[in-house]
Symmetry: C2
Subunit: 362 residues, 2 copies
């Protein structure tokens, strides 16, 4: 008997890639099958490239290991982290789609308070396809959501909103805590389902977690660089934070929105706090200088593209954070390399990073 059910085409089916960094077999995809199977996956294999990663049957994917990254980027592969989930940003670079969703392989399908399984990807797509409101706070949260609107006192000139560049989703069960908080509260679990999506206001920084994240690659992709972490680097677990601070100041400058809130995923297992502490400890004191730096960043009017903004940011990183630690000089150079590699794989009309950094002076 033929199945008479007609499945609607999933939203953005041909316009979105799912990027997954991993070191193990992707059994976790079984649980996501109803939601992810229609989409294309980009798997970035971290660690030993000779290991074979098993992907469950029926998924459409491409997989890159370290040898592939080295082959494709040549010397520019130095900007892609090794032995750290920061390597995921290579997937953003090789994608040709307009939107990216990225998820960790220890994240499972969460349930809403009614017990229904949450289609996280669908909610992210709703978030990135509806406008953001970074210039004024709406007390009833997302004004574009069904059953909600702008409240009394919200300026009418701001009600069209602006394009949404990033949708930051949250986590039930294991919250995204740093090592000291993990150590102090080993048993804390997040069981609060907050039924809201909100725009993070212009001028406000936030801690962006890469575990459950979607973005408009055409808008903000070149700034979604996860930095130098892991093997050979003095720091880890700040890859997504770094990207979050960079994308936020650039979105603020270019007039785009960043949302946080729904959807939730179920984060299954806390990472080892002692290992995390070793990775994080430099970040924990560096961030006290990084936050004021990013809060004070000002991008000139001439920075009209993400690439131009990012190159300018890399210069300010070198000039101001280079004094904090020489790591930031290396990171600044890697930011430029990242843009060069991005532009090589994603040729854009107009100026290239090479022109921006090495071109003739005006």
């Amino acid at each position: 008997m033929a199945d008479s059910k007609v499945s609607p085409t999933p939203l953005l089916k041909d316009e979105l890639d799912i990027v997954i960094p991993t070191i193990r077999n992707l059994d976790f995809l079984e649980m996501w099958r109803p939601f992810f199977q229609p989409y294309h996956l980009i798997i970035v294999q971290d660690g030993d490239p000779s290991k074979t990663i098993k992907v469950p049957e029926g998924f459409d994917y491409e997989l890159y290991n370290r040898n592939d990254i080295n082959r494709i980027l040549g010397p520019k592969a130095s900007c892609i982290s090794f032995k750290d989930s920061a390597c995921r940003c290579f997937g953003y670079m090789v994608s040709k789609k307009k939107y990216i969703y990225t998820i960790d392989d220890d994240c499972f399908v969460a349930k809403d308070p009614s017990g229904k399984e949450i289609n996280a990807l669908e909610q992210h797509i709703k978030n990135v396809l509806s406008p953001s409101t970074p210039f004024f706070f709406n007390t009833l949260y997302d004004p574009y959501r069904e059953g909600a609107d702008f409240v009394r006192g919200y300026p009418f000139s701001l009600r069209e909103g602006v394009p949404t560049a990033v949708s930051h989703g949250l986590w039930l069960n294991i919250p995204d805590y740093d090592a000291p908080t993990q150590l102090v509260k080993p048993l804390e679990r997040n069981s609060r389902y907050v039924d809201a999506v909100l725009t993070i206001p212009k001028g406000t920084l936030f801690p962006m977690c890469g575990m459950n994240l979607a973005f408009n690659r055409e808008l903000i992709g070149p700034a979604m660089y996860f930095g130098l972490m892991g093997d050979g680097q003095p720091i880890g677990r700040y890859d997504d934070m770094w990207a979050g601070w960079c994308i936020k100041v650039i979105c603020d400058h270019l007039g785009w929105g960043v949302k946080t809130g729904l959807p939730y995923i179920w984060h299954s297992k806390a990472s080892n706090p002692f290992v995390n502490l070793k990775k994080e400890y430099k970040g924990i004191y560096w961030q006290e200088e990084l936050i004021p730096f990013f809060q004070a960043v000002s991008l000139p009017k001439e920075c009209t593209t993400v690439q131009k903004c990012y190159i300018e940011l890399s210069k300010q990183v070198k000039a101001k954070l280079g004094k904090v630690d020489e790591y930031f000089i290396k990171l600044s150079d890697a930011m430029v390399t990242w843009i060069e590699a991005w532009d090589e794989l994603n040729p854009v009309a107009g100026s290239t990073a090479a022109e921006l950094t090495n071109g003739p002076k005006k």
Copy 2:
């Protein structure tokens, strides 16, 4: 048989007044009896002072009508609105308590998703007694709430937070919409219970609704002026908005926090959108100039008290908004009168408004 139950003393019992503006008998208090009865009420009777307002038995209250306001403030009574709920701010001025909770008389006890009646006052007290985090956004919302904390990437130097000046609560059932939105969506009801409290970031303005609002009167009281609305004025329904913009820029300047979210009250009845449109229409276009004005306000370092900030703000209102409409010149003068009246009823050590405005030039 003696009742062996021991009722705990309600939080802040002797440190909080409940301010209610009204034109009718306060039957709505019956529903609030279990939560409000331990507290002192300040009732500000609007409209005809010869009318008698009935207050249910057993409540401890003081009531002021227009004759009382005129008698107490003399010529300075001109700064208190008439025939508009903006008159409630007179109650803030005559209170001698550290905290204020203000609520409209068409607001009832709401239920949380489990069906439990919400003690709105208790939640507001929790909000004002715990710190705020205006300098960096915490993606798991209020980090001080049980089961929550600061997430990875949140600077440790900011985790002590700052004092909370204001707690802005929300509304189930009838949302706080302006007249145009009411007209377009006459049947829209708010049924979404968002289980969150969050700090509105520094530098971000919001539409503050006076329907369900608590604040630390000792910190921010002198800036909680609800302006000139109603009888004899060209505008209404912007009293709380005006106060919200003023308190936000002053809290940002002085380093205090403003929270929004829980608790919800049940807002029973939509006001008439045609009447509202008449009251609001000037506000609807003025706010397009007011928001940029407040976004650009800068208070000098010398403004170290709320009074000094507010007098400075009144000068900037006159200088910059006086061009928008002469109403703002009148409002600016009323802001000064309000501070003079406040200081008369609440003598403070050090400088008075009179010194600030008329004193010798430096």
